[in-house]
């Protein structure tokens, strides 16, 4: 459905944000996982027609995204990583405004749609409040509502859960999980759980390159029996890092738990660890 071919992009300040990125993305929720600065947003914005790549191409349903921007915008739903709102505008007004710009000309249809969306994203009680006063979670839900206007065939959701508290994040992911299977949804995030909770397909992107790609469960299955963990003291970490292929080290009750990647049991107190997507992620970006 969405084909990204050999996309490269270097910013004027010399940062190479994308290096020969190629992806094939089908219907359903696709997770784009990567650390901050990996190039996720560059890729997302490029797909969303907001910027251009230096080379490569993106096609969606026969639309050459970089040349037929307007055509793509007709089928796009986009929730940017961050967005502001005009002061003194209510959620309802803003949705009407966007619906109109998305070509929904019939006033009655528009009203029904806006109301339905407000209800479904649970903002119906706040629809007459100014957007400026919304909390982070409410604002993101408003964001998804506006992205859903006008039957988009491609929805891009860029780092939606960054900065949300756990409750807000949970509520937001619930919402995302209901977005249909019949359209292409790309979710970029640096939170591994988002992807494991929501996506049936994913790519890990680091330093502008796709380093892993596939179904999250299959990726986990590939790594089975290769992750080992051990609880050690903080001052031992450096020594272990020299000796083992440490992919992850996290604090735990004052000590450090390290995960190492190894085809065999490294012994010396290491225990087999149940593989999580987190391990995949860190083994790729480490």
């Amino acid at each position: 459905m969405l084909q990204v071919k050999n996309l490269s992009k270097t910013y004027p300040n010399g940062v190479q944000a994308l290096k020969d990125v190629s992806l094939n993305i089908g219907n359903g929720m696709f997770g784009l996982l990567g650390p901050n600065g990996a190039g996720k947003s560059t890729l997302m914005r490029t797909i969303a027609t907001l910027q251009d790549a230096d080379s490569g191409s993106i096609t969606f349903d026969g639309i050459d995204v970089m040349k037929q921007k307007h055509e793509l915008r007709k089928v796009l739903g986009y929730l940017p990583q961050e967005f502001g709102v005009y002061p003194k505008v209510t959620a309802e007004e803003m949705l009407h405004y966007i619906a109109r710009l998305k070509g929904i000309d019939n006033a009655r249809e528009r009203k029904e749609l806006v109301n339905a969306l407000l209800k479904q994203v649970n903002l119906i009680n706040h629809k007459n409040k100014f957007l400026g006063g919304y909390s982070g979670g409410m604002k993101q839900r408003f964001g998804i509502a506006q992205a859903l206007i006008g039957n988009p065939k491609l929805i891009i959701v860029d780092e939606p859960t960054a900065g949300l508290d756990p409750a807000e994040r949970l509520r937001f992911n619930n919402l995302l999980s209901e977005i249909g299977e019949n359209i292409v949804v790309i979710l970029s995030t640096h939170i591994v759980d988002d992807v494991s909770e929501l996506c049936n397909d994913m790519a890990i992107i680091a330093s502008g390159q796709v380093v892993q790609c596939g179904n999250p469960e299959a990726l986990v299955a590939d790594m089975r029996d290769r992750i080992w963990s051990k609880r050690i003291k903080k001052d031992e970490v450096a020594a272990y890092q020299q000796q083992y292929n440490v992919i992850l080290s996290k604090l735990s009750a004052g000590d450090v738990v390290i995960h190492v990647l190894s085809d065999q049991d490294p012994g010396s107190g290491f225990a087999a660890e149940r593989v999580s997507l987190e391990d995949i992620y860190f083994s790729n970006i480490a």
Partner: protein, 1208 residues
């Protein structure tokens, strides 16, 4: 800590590019201005206070150095100082800084003085720019004197530093209180308004001292200080830091610190940018992380079908535009601007159309023009500000991330912003209109004429503003930061509205320009409409290009570099935009060609310089014929057909030329106005040869047989004065117009012989064109010039007969008496004939007139006026009657049986006296609103009428020879007549007020004299400030000192000797001779001082005390310090010994004169006393303003009666 903050800030500025940009801008503006003033471009002359003032004189250096910094510099001050604390809020560094242990004092004042220091460095660039300009080899050497660094330094510390401190304090305080960049810029507008209002409010003579004090920039104080300075003083003296100027500076320094204190006390370290209006309410939801199935169900969403078509985009455009407009109307700042705007307009309405402090009726065109003129710059500034706000709104609020990815074409976004901006301009113009009507209603004027408002504001002014909006949005679209955009726009506007015309010289190259429009009640918008429209289409299609470009390059997405945008603009889906641009460009070129054809081919609009070049050529080639014997016109018979609609005039006529010389004349030299075309020229003697220089327009007809002395011939001609296409600049009179045609003989009747008046008179210009020095006028000793009068060199007195025709609904008028009036072939004919000889100076008018007639003895008084302009007809009739009363008794009988006043459109504002015919501009008296009960109002319709009627004697009975000084026989004497009439009509206070104005004008104007000031007897025609203002005062003084009757007796005898006599003509010396004959020996000195010297007095009442005498009388003991000065032509004044008559008057509480004593006072201080019967309140030296005195304020003292002597 203070030092640390100061240094950090200064170092930061030195590293910032902005500082160098500011320096460069000021430097360039000053450099360019300097070059302009210093005469770099020969065709461009910019004069400040006379050509004799050097470009690098202290006066001009101060005006430019301070002036540029007061405006362009002020914007930079606001940018630097207004932002010095605010940037901590906008850059969110405030929370870092405010949590450090720095004290508020150190923080604020460290920042303030550091940025002030930076500002002072930046502002110095203006001085450097001027210096650099003057140091270039391109400047004209005669505009320069030696370089004096001290002039720059003086201005810097006197004006630049204190003003920067004040401006800085104000905007620093505003930034501390408001913490909102928009409010700061808004306050800048308010600041400009406040200065503008106080300027217009206190511009009158009475408020001079007050205005000098309250002008925060000190310019008025300087002006008051140097108002009467001579050229010499302006060239060599910097402003002394004394008196009002010193007080002004101290006052505003004090105020600066108070303002800083206020700002300081308002500021606290709370770390948020405050918004002045509105606060946020935060919504929260419960935050328990419980899984609950989301309500989102994609399938349950209503099915909608998005539609994308041009129709939808247009609908979206409408919706977006409505949104923009609504947002604007809800914008608090915009509402504040509207409020301030209204306030401003109401405030300035006080000054509406004032002349001699006397109001005019608030007729619609005047209110509309005045208000729009006042408000224009504010609309421009607001347009610029909101252009940035609108274009950057989505990005500023970070909404662009969502909006830019919507399926909305660029042009929809672009146009919605533009419509918002244009809508705002409409609202502002509506404000002008509504305020105008309110003011009119308030002044009791109810003829609102909404059509004129709409036509002027929305027909003529709105388009300009719209084009400006298009440009502003283009600039804001292209730049990467809106403040850069503002800066570019400000510089552009400065360039376009001032320098562009000087340098590029043609409206074709000046964005938004047009030939101009002037509304007249008589002629409406007249013929201004069509050319205006063509120019507006021309600029409109260019604006369309700009619009196309803006739309193509509309910033969209996260990468807004121009290169990226350019690449996107070339995508296939953008093709429509290019079609628009290319089409518009083609139309632009086509329109440009059409304008060029009209303004450069059909109408050769010469620049001043080109015009002078022709004059120079004329002089070089034909000066040799100046004294070639030529016949004089003795009789004129004309047929003039005026076609107002077509704006054409066709004339045919016969001139009888008589050889009044003693030699035979074999060739006749003929000149004709360049705009007129000679279609036929026939001489009754027949011709042998015709010479025509078509470049200069000089014709020489060689007669078949010479014209013998005493013989006459008939010269018949046909001329056309037609209008083709349009000119680059709107010209009102000079050719027929739809209603209110006023042309005189020089515009289409040939004249005979070489005419010295066509030569370039200005000696600076002569030099530029390689001509030698020439005295402006023939010297008074040139007896050959006595053969010619100063009005027309080709005739003495003539017989006059004219048949004029016009369209049926208009009345056509020429001098003379109406013999017959008839209509044939749809033309309205009038036959006029004069029964007594007149000068060769006559006019033709045609308009839809109303006529009002009255009689004065057997003389018919007639006023031909525009319907609706009845306000002052009675005053004019009074003026005519009183004038005829006075002049016919005191000068000589009136030579005609008729006086006619004829209104003409306000394109020129003067009245002019032709034989029995006085064209009188609608702009100066017809709409005057004189409140007779007011102590202040001057009945100037009466004054102007009396002056013009006086010309029937002083011009049309006796005219001087074509030499220096002769003009006083015309203008000074007419002014004398008018003052004498006024004296009968006005209260003494009003007459004194009038004289005070005249004296002020004379003294101000002489300080701007470009050539050299001459004594009254020898003045040039062009020295109007002497012939009117000084002349009137001096003649009035003469009538006081030698007696009105004696003086008039002299004038009677003079008239008797010279009236209607023809050559040789009298000179001013003849008049003086007659006056001296009636002057007692004791006053001969005064006559000499009046006419032959430039005499000034410096009189002062140094002290005065009053005591009540036992007899109930009051004795006033006082001292008068008197000094008489003679000025030379350069303005250098020298005290001379004197022993002159000076009056002292005493007034009571009710301003009534209760005692007047004339003393003969030597120079220096004299102790005097005077006894009056009533309780005195005021004592005044020279209460009748008979002596020219630069400082009238020290001429009077209020008196308080001390306790009476105790009686025993």
């Amino acid at each position: 800590m203070f030092a640390h903050i100061f240094k950090f800030e200064v170092r930061r500025w030195f590293r910032s590019i902005a500082m160098y940009v500011y320096i460069l801008v000021l430097f360039l503006v000053a450099f360019f201005t300097g070059l302009l003033i210093a005469g770099t471009w020969p065709g461009v002359s910019v004069n400040f206070g006379g050509e004799k003032i050097f470009a690098n004189s202290p006066a001009i250096i101060d005006a430019m150095f301070a002036g540029i910094n007061n405006y362009v510099g002020l914007i930079i001050i606001v940018a630097v100082i207004g932002n010095s604390v605010l940037k901590d809020f906008t850059a969110n560094t405030s929370s870092l800084i405010f949590t450090t242990p720095v004290s508020k004092f150190n923080y604020l004042f460290g920042r303030f003085f550091a940025s002030l220091f930076i500002v002072l460095i930046i502002l110095a660039a203006t001085g450097l720019g001027l210096m650099a300009a003057y140091a270039t080899p391109w400047v004209s050497a005669d505009r320069m004197e030696a370089f004096h660094l001290s002039y720059y330094i003086t201005t810097y510390w006197q004006t630049v530093i204190p003003n920067a401190l004040l401006d800085g304090a104000i905007f620093f305080a505003v930034s501390l209180i408001a913490r909102d960049i928009f409010v700061i810029w808004l306050s800048l507008i308010v600041f400009f308004i406040a200065i503008g209002v106080s300027n217009s409010y206190f511009s009158s003579l009475e408020h001079e001292t007050l205005s000098a004090l309250i002008d925060p920039l000190g310019a008025h104080a300087k002006r008051a200080l140097a108002k009467y300075w001579t050229t010499y003083q302006k060239n060599h003296f910097t402003y002394p830091m004394t008196g009002l100027f010193l007080m002004n500076r101290l006052l505003w320094m004090g105020i600066s610190f108070i303002i800083l204190g206020i700002g300081y006390s308002f500021f606290s370290f709370t770390a948020t940018a405050r918004r002045l209006f509105g606060s946020k309410v935060r919504l929260r939801e419960s935050s328990v992380p419980v899984f609950k199935r989301s309500d989102l169900n994609m399938d349950a969403l209503p099915k909608v079908k998005p539609v994308f078509s041009t129709g939808i985009y247009l609908k979206n455009l409408w919706g977006l535009s409505v949104n923009e407009c609504r947002a604007l109307l809800r914008n608090t700042y915009f509402r504040i601007i509207l409020l301030f705007g209204m306030l401003l307009l109401f405030l300035v309405s006080i000054q509406l159309g004032k002349l001699y402090d006397t109001a005019t009726y608030p007729v619609t065109y005047m209110v509309a023009e005045y208000f729009e003129g006042t408000f224009h710059i504010i609309i421009v500034v607001i347009t610029f500000m909101f252009s940035g706000e609108l274009v950057w709104k989505a990005r500023d609020f970070r909404m662009s991330n969502i909006l830019d990815a919507l399926p909305v074409p660029n042009w929809v976004f672009y146009l919605s912003k533009l419509v918002g901006l244009m809508f705002m301009q409409v609202i502002l113009l509506l404000l002008v209109m509504i305020c105008g009507m309110i003011v009119q209603a308030f002044m009791g004027y109810t003829n609102f004429e909404p059509g004129v408002y709409l036509g002027f504001l929305f027909g003529f002014k709105l388009l300009d503003l719209w084009y400006l909006a298009v440009l502003a949005v283009l600039v804001q679209t292209l730049v990467s930061n809106k403040y850069v955009g503002y800066f570019i726009l400000a510089i552009f506007y400065l360039w376009n509205s001032t320098f562009a015309l000087l340098v590029l010289k043609h409206n074709l190259f000046i964005y938004m320009s047009d030939p101009g429009v002037e509304y007249s009640d008589m002629n409406g918008f007249g013929h201004a409409g069509y050319p205006y429209l063509v120019f507006k289409v021309y600029w409109g299609v260019l604006a369309l290009c700009f619009a196309g470009l803006s739309s193509l390059l509309w910033a969209r997405g996260s990468e807004t570099g121009l290169k990226r945008r350019w690449r996107n603009a070339r995508l296939k889906e953008m093709r429509g935009g290019w079609v628009v641009i290319v089409t518009a460009l083609m139309f632009f070129i086509g329109c440009g060609a059409y304008v060029y054809y009209n303004t450069m081919v059909l109408n050769k609009d010469l620049s001043d310089f080109q015009q002078e070049e022709l004059q120079a050529k004329y002089e070089q080639l034909y000066k040799k014929y100046q004294h070639a014997p030529q016949p004089k016109i003795t009789s004129v018979k004309l047929n003039v057909d005026i076609y107002p609609r077509e704006r054409n005039l066709y004339a045919s006529g016969t001139l009888v030329l008589k050889n009044k010389t003693s030699q035979p004349i074999d060739s006749i030299h003929v000149l004709l106005n360049d705009d007129a075309k000679l279609r036929e020229a026939k001489f009754s003697t027949g011709l042998r040869h015709t010479y025509y220089d078509s470049v200069v327009g000089y014709r020489i007809y060689t007669l078949a047989q010479a014209l013998q002395p005493g013989d006459s011939l008939q010269f018949s001609f046909k001329t056309d004065l037609t209008s083709k296409g349009f000119k680059e600049n709107f010209t009102g009179l000079g050719a027929p117009i739809y209603n209110g045609t006023f042309v005189n003989n020089t515009s289409f009747v040939p004249s005979i012989g070489y005419n010295r008046n066509i030569e370039i008179a200005d000696n600076n210009k002569r030099k530029k064109h390689g001509l030698g020095y020439r005295p402006t006028e023939n010297p008074i000793t040139d007896t050959q010039a006595y053969q010619v009068n100063e009005l027309a060199s080709d005739a003495d007195f003539i017989d006059f007969d004219a048949t004029v025709s016009t369209v049926p609904d208009q009345i056509a008028i020429a001098p003379g008496y109406l013999q017959k009036e008839w209509t044939t072939n749809g033309r309205h004919y009038f036959h006029y004939k004069m029964d007594s000889p007149i000068l060769n100076f006559y006019s033709f008018l045609s308009a839809r007139y109303k006529v009002k007639k009255e009689m004065w003895h057997d003389v018919s008084l007639e006023i031909y006026y525009q319907e609706g302009h009845e306000y002052n007809l009675e005053r004019m009739f009074q003026g005519m009657k009183k004038a005829l009363d006075y002049y016919s008794v005191n000068f000589s009988p009136y030579q005609h049986r008729q006086v006619r006043i004829l209104e003409f459109p306000r394109y020129s504002t003067f009245a002019q006296s032709f034989p029995n015919t006085i064209p009188f501009s609608e702009g100066i008296g017809f709409i005057a609103k004189v409140d007779d009960s007011s102590k202040e109002d001057i009945n100037y319709p009466l004054y102007i009428t009396a002056h013009e009627v006086a010309h029937q004697w002083w011009a049309h009975q006796v005219i001087g020879a074509d030499v220096e000084g002769s003009v006083i026989l015309v203008e000074t004497m007419a002014q004398y007549g008018a003052i004498m009439v006024m004296q009968k009509d006005y209260t003494p206070e009003k007459l004194h007020k009038f004289l005070h104005y005249e004296m002020d004008r004379y003294l101000s104007a002489r300080s701007n004299e470009g050539e050299k000031e001459k004594p009254l007897a020898y003045i040039d025609q062009a020295q109007s400030y002497i012939r009117y203002e000084k002349g009137g005062i001096e003649m009035y003084a003469l009538s006081h000192y030698i007696g009105e009757d004696s003086l008039n007796h002299a004038l009677q005898r003079f008239l008797k000797q010279y009236a209607f006599k023809g050559a040789p003509y009298p000179t001013s010396l003849d008049l003086i001779r007659y006056i001296k004959q009636v002057t007692p020996d004791s006053m001969q000195y005064f006559v000499k001082d009046v006419f032959e010297n430039i005499t000034l007095y410096n009189n002062k009442l140094s002290d005065a005390a009053v005591t009540e005498t036992p007899g109930g009388q009051y004795t006033i003991n006082f001292s008068v310090a008197s000094q008489k000065l003679y000025a030379d032509s350069s303005g250098y004044e020298k005290a001379v010994p004197s022993n002159d008559y000076i009056e002292v008057g005493v007034y009571n509480e009710k301003r009534k004169l209760i005692g007047l004593q004339r003393y003969k006072l030597p120079g220096g201080t004299s102790r005097l006393s005077i006894v009056v019967a009533e309780k005195p309140a005021k004592i005044v030296v020279d209460p009748n303003l008979l002596l020219i005195d630069k400082d009238l304020n020290d001429n009077e003292k209020r008196l308080t009666v001390s306790a009476p002597h105790a009686k025993k």
